[in-house]
Amino acid sequence: MIAADATGRSAPSSLRAALLGAHLITALVLSASASAAEPLPLPDFERDDPARYGRQIALHQDRCDRGWVDERARGTMTLFDADGDSVRRAFDRFVFERAEEGDKIIIRFAEPAEIKGVAALTFERPGTADDSWLYLPASKRVRRISGANNTASFQGTEFTYEDLGSLDAREYDWRFLEEAHDEHDSGATPVYRLEAVPTYDDTGYSRLVVSIHRQAWRQERVEYFDPSGRLLKTRLSRDWEQFHGRFWRAREIEMVNHQTGKRTVIELTDQRLDLAHSTDPRSGRNLRPLTEDLFTARSLQP
């Protein structure tokens, strides 16, 4: 019996874990990102119509983060319960950008030891369920996975499947609320505050309130309200880093559940975007770019 690793024997749960990790970390990081230098020309905002104005802002923020080609990063995900107890997971992530068809993502877990080596591949498909595969080292198998339950939690984290794609501007009714300043330790951030109401059926939220940086065009904060209208969670993106003078990435993303006191923190290190134009700190040479043909199920196996 002990020859059969628990990772392999409890495959479906492990599948969910790794797969959601792939979705989660990538979607969060990309949604908490934007470009600043060489800004895109602003659309002719229709400020008199809160619905149109809100949607224009959301779509413009989405357009600002296009063109980073490929990305890799290392990171950790730490879960805290209400008493302060915590567990940590570590991962490597590779992303290949495909603007219209959806990105291709590979994530490989490095910690905890129980899921070390588990790797997931996801082809994002806008408007429909993603294609997803998972490699389980214990069983030496790559398996295709079915679509996820949108409102389910990821192994006790404060993130749900829905949070992954929740800020696709095309899936919400938007409304501009106000121009405001988000107060935090390092000062105040000027933001557009928008309300987003999901237009799809399988949702756990009645509405979201999204704060978008007015100059950097990045999502600073998202508040999630439950079906009864009570504030459920807040997602905060912090410690921003800019790449190639354009693309912003948060090095820390925190999701706080106000109703349970639990929270989950994602921290990212060694981020690189547009690898062909990024430098290896050890050799000083440019990194090899990721190519689309590397994002295959067979790549998951050692």
Partner: protein
């Protein structure tokens, strides 16, 4: 699909063809390719260094609760360790090893010290070549897979999850051009010239087959000789996309010694394993229906199918007749439910049916019963201790036979963050003297406690 290897073809000609292809592939001038995740990590800096990918040490205590005082080992203490090592020699060549040690501390005659895997992989421009001892799963379903033909099993450790044993040979893969329907088609050729036996438990242990008043002789069985030892296979796999479903599909043709031997009994009541030949052509698919077309209920399932035609043949001087030719199949589905008993928990359900289209029972050698219903219910609490409960089993509804296991697992975080405990209870409800393989074993109902440290 055009495959050159037909069932029943003499192995010598197949071997020549495959060997020629392999030599051609290796000799072709080619650029480096990165067929694995490790190979294309642009920040990886491990060239020329061994990397420990993962490993574990586990200690399992077993206590068999039935059929005691029959001269059999009623207790077991299995110490097992395994590591995965990787060595990247350059951008094209990577070595990999997975040595394993397993010793029954209560019975020192049960020990396994061997590499599960030890091979090198050479990247080619549109494929790769792997040489050495390898383990590969061709399975779609969870168990009793008629298309999973490559690796023999260690039948002396666990009845529900017999570990795969490495096979020594060569694998050549060719990555074929993809399109919108077939996502990443891959042609694989296998040449396994080294024959190895399935492993059994030593005589006197609970999992060793026995006959009344007789004994089991693992080493004295009948093996194939000469070219009969060769295993060759051609396999095509791909992703497949359509409006109503997406799938992983594969087809294969294989020829060589069958993975699972039969058992022969001589006049002295000595039971021995005996191998026979197998030519097989098979197909498998793992399908995820599209919610827009199939509906949300069907789209929540993952559907599985394995189908294989199996032509068995006897080797020269074989002491036992091979099973009759037949079609073997497994069909099933997986589904995961959320927030079932508690907030954020998960319940994964698996149901499969395995069987054969054959006129006699000789075909069902690889399975325990006549018509098997395989199920698994895996509940995960999703808390910090990663608690889980799993019930799984194989049931023959017609014959009222079953093999069931329930287990509870959790991390022992207060002792060590990577220490895990698994407690399980396995019960085999099988009439003694019946026709199934399990009927040759004593009642191996047992309880088990495992402590496992992953690293």
């Amino acid at each position: 699909m055009s495959l050159s290897c037909r069932p029943g073809a003499p192995p010598r000609s197949s071997a020549r063809a495959v060997g020629a292809l392999l030599v051609l592939a290796v000799c072709l001038p080619s650029a480096a390719t990165a067929a694995s995740l490790d190979a294309f990590d642009p920040l990886a800096n491990d060239e020329g260094r061994f990397r420990l990918l993962r490993g574990f040490v586990a200690l399992e205590a077993r206590n068999f609760t039935a059929h005691r005082d029959r001269g059999l080992a009623n207790e077991g203490a299995l110490l097992e360790a395994e590591v995965e090592l990787s060595l990247r020699l350059n951008r094209r060549v990577r070595a990999y090893a997975r040595p394993r040690i397993l010793i029954d501390l209560a019975r020192t005659d049960l020990w396994r010290i061997e590499p599960y895997e030890a091979y090198i992989t050479i990247g080619l421009s549109q494929g790769d070549v792997r040489l050495g001892q390898m383990v590969e799963s061709w399975a779609i379903a969870d168990t009793y897979n008629p298309i999973d033909l490559l690796n023999r099993r260690d039948l002396g450790i666990d009845l529900l999850d017999p570990p795969r044993l490495g096979e020594v040979g060569v694998r050549y893969r060719r990555f074929l051009p993809a399109n919108r329907v077939f996502g990443e088609p891959t042609l694989s050729l296998y040449l396994i010239p080294v024959f190895r036996r399935a492993r059994w438990a030593p005589e006197g242990l609970r999992l060793a087959p026995v006959v009344p008043g007789g004994r089991f002789d693992e080493d004295g069985g009948f093996d194939p000789r000469g070219n009969d030892r060769l295993f060759v296979a051609v396999r095509v796999e791909s992703t497949w996309s359509s409006a109503w479903a997406d799938a992983d599909v594969q087809a294969l043709v294989a020829h060589g010694p069958d993975r699972t031997p039969g058992l022969t009994e001589d006049t002295d009541a000595v039971l021995r394993p005996a191998y026979h030949g197998l030519s097989s052509i098979g197909f498998g698919a793992r399908v995820v229906p599209n919610a827009d077309v199939a509906g949300s209920v069907l789209a929540s399932l993952t559907l599985k199918l394995e189908l294989a035609y199996r032509h068995h043949f006897a080797f020269e001087d074989a002491p036992v007749a091979p099973p009759e030719d037949h079609v073997a199949f497994v069909v099933g589905a997986d589904r995961t439910l959320y927030d079932v008993f508690r907030e954020r928990d998960e319940l994964a359900l698996t149901v499969e049916i395995a069987g054969e289209l054959a006129s006699s029972g000789s075909a069902r050698r690889a399975r325990p019963f006549g018509s098997d219903l395989i199920f698994r219910l895996a509940w995960r609490r999703n808390d910090f201790a990663r608690q889980s409960v799993e019930l799984r089993g194989v049931v023959d509804l017609e014959q009222d036979e079953s093999l069931l296991e329930i287990s509870y697992a959790r991390q022992l975080r207060k002792l060590h963050r990577a220490l895990k405990m698994v407690a399980s209870f396995q019960v085999a409800d099988v009439p003694r003297g019946g026709s199934s393989f399990l009927a040759r074993l004593p009642d191996n109902t047992h309880v088990s406690i495992v402590l496992r440290r992953d690293f």
